[in-house]
């Protein structure tokens, strides 16, 4: 079930640096928004605020009308927001299978901490192995993330995100470090398995992926939103080209 998201006047400061300055973004249920901007423009800070990792200085984050600002990361995750990380964040001492399973522990009743029936374990295993299979990781289920390639690690993060069955997905540079062919492949995986039935915000520097997945994009620069609209139109905007690509206005 996709969620409606409304970010109102969101501001965040780290010491003397204003990471976000009164940012407004609205997402309809099922809408996919590309979020672009130069390094340090506040894209990941926005994700950190949306997931409760940092608290906003001002503003509101509404998920289906529910204000998330100031809630703990665990509560926010339970409301249905899941993310991936620009710098991969995997549990390196746990197996690939346990990494994906990490997303399934949150809403389990207390008794599950001490016992899971064989039927429940089998059901969970089947469902998670199917998920790993989608990403070609079922053969690697008992390996550690260190034994995977970069592309497989990115796939594993996305598989973990899907295991939580979120309403809003936040993808932070899912194609970082990938070749053009690998970017094409992950774009197809995201389009087929991640986005259907979910709202999404995608941070990415590779316009190939942004153009393929996001009908609309917003641009941040120095913590401020400088553009928001249909992808083609925003990318043609001279102010955007100047701030992001460094191109001189025609």
């Amino acid at each position: 079930m996709a969620a409606a998201v409304e970010i109102q006047g969101l501001s965040c400061r780290f010491g003397g640096v204003k990471a976000l300055d009164a940012v407004d973004i609205r997402l309809s249920p099922g809408e996919v928004l590309g979020l672009i901007g130069p390094n340090g423009s506040g894209k990941t800070s926005l994700f950190n605020l949306l997931t409760g990792h940092h608290n906003p200085e001002a503003g509101a984050i509404l998920l289906d009308g529910l204000d998330l600002a100031g809630q703990s990361p665990s509560q926010i995750a339970r409301f249905g927001i899941a993310r991936t990380f620009q710098n991969l964040r995997l549990l390196r001492r746990l197996s690939v299978y346990e990494n994906v399973r990490a997303a399934r522990h949150a809403c389990a009743p207390l008794r599950d901490a001490f016992w899971l029936s064989p039927a429940a374990r089998r059901q969970e295993r089947d469902s998670l192995m199917n998920l790993l299979d989608i990403f070609g990781l079922s053969e690697k289920a008992q390996k550690t993330p260190a034994e995977l390639t970069l592309v497989q690690m990115r796939h594993l993060e996305i598989a973990r995100l899907l295991a939580a069955d979120p309403k809003l997905v936040l993808l932070d540079e899912p194609a970082a470090g990938m070749t053009s062919a690998e970017t094409q492949a992950i774009t197809e995986v995201i389009a087929t398995h991640v986005l259907p039935g979910r709202s999404a915000i995608v941070i990415e520097h590779k316009m190939q992926l942004v153009a393929a997945l996001c009908p609309r994009i917003a641009v941040l620069n120095a913590g401020r939103k400088i553009a928001d609209g249909p992808t083609g139109q925003v990318l043609a905007d001279s102010a955007v080209r100047q701030s992001y690509f460094g191109a001189k206005p025609c």
């Binding site: 665990s74 522990h105 949150a106 973990r160």
Partner: protein, 296 residues
């Protein structure tokens, strides 16, 4: 089985409770130098219950376990903000606080014409349930083994459920754990409660075997050893800390060739294992390999 072997095995069993207690916190990402405090709480509470209040043994030990677990949870509550060395120092401070309290704690009542109960630094004598009930050392070794089996069984159930996975996720990356919907503080408090209860169970059993306990027995070195057992034996399985105890007490303390050099050899062993295998002999990778081999 001769008396020496029974004594060594009993010590291995009793120290295993302490080692498992510290291990539970280690896999949850917490370094505790203070699990001897709960061992002492279990020893004193269990001893008071059976020797002073004349409760049945099982009830007395159960009282010690519950008290250790509750205090473990209460101490964890304000320390959830701490991590790493700060948490370690807090646990050490609490353990020394408990030991200092026991040095002045006096609670003696007349039982069968004798004053019985803790008497500050003079200790707590006549915890005589095992002798009065006619339990031989071998029989008491069976009780210790049963208690240890219960703890291992509980950990095994948690490994089949979600409990151990949750502890490991919080231990490895608490920020990610939170973003996966896990309540990190609650899990840390639960781990400390469990660890407190396990250490207290060992303490209660120890008091009834030794019949005499005193605050000086629960010093810092016991806490350091209990932590080192997990680091030597490995963090991948509950058998890791038990392996650590076996190496220390079963090998170094019990074999005469090592006895004079125990602390030197033990310290060197800890350093060597930490250099060669930072997560211990039975680390997560080794345990996964063994499990895969067993599944074949």
């Amino acid at each position: 089985m001769d008396a020496f072997t029974i004594s060594v095995l009993s010590n291995i069993g009793l120290f295993s409770f302490l080692a498992i207690s510290a291990w539970v916190l280690l896999i949850c990402g917490e370094i505790s130098f203070g699990q001897q405090a709960y061992f002492a709480i279990g020893a004193y509470a269990g001893g008071i219950a059976t020797a002073v209040w004349q409760w049945p043994f099982a009830l007395g030990v159960g009282f010690g376990v519950v008290l250790g677990a509750v205090i473990g949870g209460l101490v964890a509550w304000p320390t959830t903000r701490l991590s790493g060395m700060h948490y370690a120092i807090a646990t050490l401070a609490f353990a020394e606080f408990v030991r200092s309290c026991l040095n002045v704690f006096s609670y003696q009542r007349e039982v069968d014409g004798y004053l019985t109960g803790p008497d500050g630094a003079n200790g707590f004598r006549d915890i005589r349930w095992a002798y009065e009930a006619g339990v031989e050392p071998l029989g008491y070794l069976g009780i210790i083994a049963a208690g240890l089996a219960a703890v291992i069984g509980l950990i095994a159930c948690m490994a089949r459920g979600r409990g151990m996975a949750q502890l490991r996720i919080v231990g490895e990356d608490p920020i990610l754990a939170g973003m996966q919907g896990l309540n990190v503080n609650r899990i840390r408090i639960a781990a400390a409660t469990l660890a407190g209860g396990i250490a207290a169970l060992g303490g209660a059993l120890y008091a009834h075997l030794a019949t005499y306990v005193e605050p000086a027995q629960f010093g810092v070195m016991i806490g350091v050893h209990s932590l080192a057992y997990g680091l030597i034996g490995g963090l991948g399985t509950v058998f890791g800390p038990i392996l650590g105890v076996l190496v220390d007490i079963g090998l170094l303390e019990s074999l005469r060739v090592f006895s004079s050099y125990r602390m030197i050899v033990f310290g060197g062993l800890v350093a060597l294992v930490l250099i060669l295998r930072p997560r211990g002999i039975l680390d997560e990778k080794t345990v996964r390999r063994i499990q895969a081999w067993l599944r074949r």
